[in-house]
């Protein structure tokens, strides 16, 4: 009972922190389970994957009608994320807990670096009269008070990053948005909001591929997953509200600091 409450509260914290910048709760939930609650790495990853499915479904159904999700780009990149997810899920058993924790430390540190490098960046938007091309998109943007158009560039790179994001998702229980969103935004011409919404749309299917494999191996404890999922759902709603009001610059700085601490703790645990 006490454990259930801790998991629920931990889910709220992880979901809240994660949704502040659209990272998903996994990057905070996994360290919480491993470092604070002493849960084995693979059990933590399995639980985290189920919370990612919930976050993806809720976020996607909530953003319908605003044309932010690029369905076609999402469905194309999903081919790569699910191949990665399947491979990651199968390979996870072959990798020692120590190595997985080190890998988590590396990815968290990379996340912090990405966050810091984007502190002052605002996204470039193309001329509204431009053609979106086969995979591009159009949506209404509040800040520009008009319809903005974008084209997708460097598709092979987007596919490669999606493959990596899919494997990381199943190995470490994080959504992979931390890799995809900056890459789509910085290199592939997709505006930040559209990249985040499309990534949130994709991670549900990606996480499902991994979660089903973990579930089949008996590594997902149903009541633990239930408590964490319910917590994450509450937390991410709260996070969205706060995120909309808070300053993006300070949020990024705060999250970068948290990620650095997570990274150091994971390395210490893996020693």
């Amino acid at each position: 009972m006490a454990l259930t409450s801790i998991l629920f509260l931990g889910g709220i914290a992880a979901g809240g922190l994660g949704s502040l910048l659209g990272l998903g709760g996994g990057v905070f939930l996994v360290p919480l389970l491993v470092l604070v609650m002493d849960v084995p790495m693979r059990v933590a990853v399995g639980i985290s994957l189920t919370t990612i499915i919930a976050t993806s479904s809720v976020t996607t159904s909530g953003s319908v009608g605003r044309s932010l999700i690029n369905l076609r780009l999402g469905m194309l990149l999903e081919v790569a994320t699910t191949v990665g997810g399947l491979t990651g899920g199968l390979v996870a058993v072959l990798i020692s807990q120590r190595r997985l924790q080190q890998l988590f430390g590396v990815v968290a540190a990379a996340g912090a670096a990405i966050m810091l490098s984007r502190l002052g960046k605002r996204n470039v938007l193309l001329d509204p009269a431009a053609e979106p091309g086969r995979l591009g998109g159009r949506y209404y943007e509040e800040e520009s008070r008009g319809v903005v158009t974008y084209q997708v560039k460097r598709l092979p790179l987007a596919l490669f990053v999606s493959l990596a994001a899919g494997s990381v998702s199943s190995l470490l229980g994080i959504g992979g948005g931390m890799l995809k969103v900056p890459a789509l935004n910085a290199w592939c011409g997709v505006p930040l909001r559209a990249a985040a919404a499309t990534s949130a749309f994709m991670i549900g299917v990606t996480a499902t591929v991994g979660a089903v494999i973990y579930y089949g191996r008996g590594e997902i404890v149903p009541w633990m997953a239930a408590a964490a999922i319910l917590g994450v759902m509450v937390g991410s709603r709260a996070g969205f509200r706060i995120g909309a009001a808070a300053s993006a610059r300070w949020l990024k700085l705060l999250l970068a600091i948290v990620l650095v601490i997570v990274s150091i703790l994971m390395f210490l645990r893996a020693r």
Partner: protein, 106 residues
């Protein structure tokens, strides 16, 4: 039909598809949440450990089945639109999901 009209038709179809997908994901998550919450409540109340475990498991299965339903709807939509490249892509994703279910649950 001009290229512009074709694009408009496609955009409308995509909007409709997005709404359908949103509804499916929303309904699936709601059902899963209800099952998971009920399972936890029973666990807290201390009645029927077995029933509570089954409810949690059912909730997890519904949760994992929801994105599969989303892909199935996309497959049907692109088949209806005769959009072969995207039909092939969504079928591939469906195939990946099926492989993971076979390896995992099956």
């Amino acid at each position: 039909m001009s290229a512009g009209e074709g694009r408009e038709l496609r955009a409308n179809a995509d909007d409709r598809l997005e709404r359908w997908l949103g509804k499916t994901l929303g309904a699936g998550t709601m059902l899963a949440t209800a099952l998971l919450a009920l399972g936890l409540l029973l666990q807290f109340a201390g009645v029927g450990a077995e029933v509570s475990d089954r409810l949690s498991r059912a909730g997890l299965i519904v949760l994992m089945a929801t994105p599969v339903a989303r892909v199935l709807i996309s497959v049907a939509e692109y088949a209806g639109q005769r959009d072969w490249p995207f039909l092939a892509l969504t079928l591939t994703v469906l195939g990946m999901l099926m492989v993971s279910f076979l390896l995992g649950v099956g």
